[in-house]
């Protein structure tokens, strides 16, 4: 399950004398992929930066709890997706900002941010995806863009494979319907 590289990293991290060095190596190895999935959920770079840092800090504090039953990458993804969903939930709960309003903020960001590199079709597709419920959007991202297996997604989201397949199927249908109704040219 766990690669030799990750085992070596974990050995470094478990030794108090080399813990920081080992963890920096772990971060350098996974930071781009973890950032990628966080960014797809929270969309805004500054938010993704905040969630990414918290993800690695949580991983640093809880690395001893890692049971080596799954890959290190799956474990990091699990923390990252939880942190991302909690972040969006907090936006609604603590900042008195309804999630629909934050959805508008994210949609506007797709049009205006310099950290978006896509054509009109790609941006429109991302806006359609923002209309999906958060967890459904997460499953779609993990399956379609990250190309993870249902087994891996099941470990990350702690959801049964059957429920994931149903969720992904619903997400695809909704996206296809939106593409049809909104008449996006080129798809």
């Amino acid at each position: 399950m766990i690669s030799q590289d990750d085992l070596e990293l974990l050995e470094l991290i478990k030794n108090p004398a080399t813990k920081d060095k080992g963890f920096k190596m772990l971060m350098e190895k996974y930071q781009r992929r973890v950032y990628g999935i966080i960014r797809k959920i929270v969309v805004i770079h500054e938010d993704a930066d905040d969630v990414l840092q918290n993800t690695f800090l949580k991983a640093y504090r809880n690395i001893r709890k890692f049971k080596e039953e799954s890959s290190l990458f799956t474990w990091l993804y699990r923390i990252a997706t939880n942190e991302s969903l909690n972040f969006l939930e907090k936006k609604e709960k603590y900042y008195f900002l309804p999630l629909t309003d934050h959805q508008k903020v994210m949609e506007d960001y797709l049009d205006s941010s310099p950290y978006i590199n896509g054509d009109d079709i790609q941006r429109s597709l991302q806006k359609i995806m923002l209309k999906l419920p958060e967890k459904q959007r997460l499953v779609f991202n993990l399956k379609y863009y990250e190309e993870l297996s249902y087994e891996e997604i099941s470990q990350i989201t702690d959801t049964s494979i059957g429920a994931l397949k149903a969720s992904y199927h619903h997400a695809v249908k909704k996206i296809e319907n939106h593409i049809k109704t909104e008449g996006i040219q080129g798809l």
């Binding site: 950032y35 990628g36 960014r39 770079h45 930066d49 990414l52 978006i116 590199n117 379609y144």
Partner: protein
């Protein structure tokens, strides 16, 4: 769905990942300091609370309270708001007070309140 592009449109600022590990470790240090400050503040609040609680225990300032109470009673009597009858009605033991006054007055005239049989002239 096959036509939907899989290209990742999200990009990060130039040099973002190069400085990420340093920023994460800086945040870790800041969070540790904040946790330490919160613990010190909680301990300080607890100690101050305990000190205030012990100072406000009954009996500590009883002398001051009684002195203020006496002063206020005197003020009421001197200003004529209360007369002797009012004071007696407010007192917990009016009979004892009256007895004390009688003894005091009688002793001024050299008369014992409860004379023995021998002291009576008959």
């Amino acid at each position: 769905m096959k036509k939907i592009p899989k290209h990742n449109i999200y990009t990060a600022p130039e040099g973002y990942f190069e400085s990420l590990t340093d920023r994460v470790f800086r945040r870790k240090k800041t969070q540790q300091q904040q946790r330490l400050i919160v613990r010190i503040a909680a301990a300080a609040v607890f100690i101050i609370g305990m000190v205030l609680f012990s100072v406000r225990q009954p009996g500590v300032n009883e002398g001051n309270f009684q002195s203020l109470y006496d002063q206020e009673v005197e003020l009421y009597i001197n200003s004529g708001i209360w007369d002797a009858e009012d004071v007696l009605l407010l007192a917990e033991n009016p009979d004892e007070l009256l007895d004390d006054i009688i003894i005091e007055e009688w002793s001024a005239y050299g008369i014992d309140e409860h004379p023995t049989e021998e002291e009576f002239p008959y």
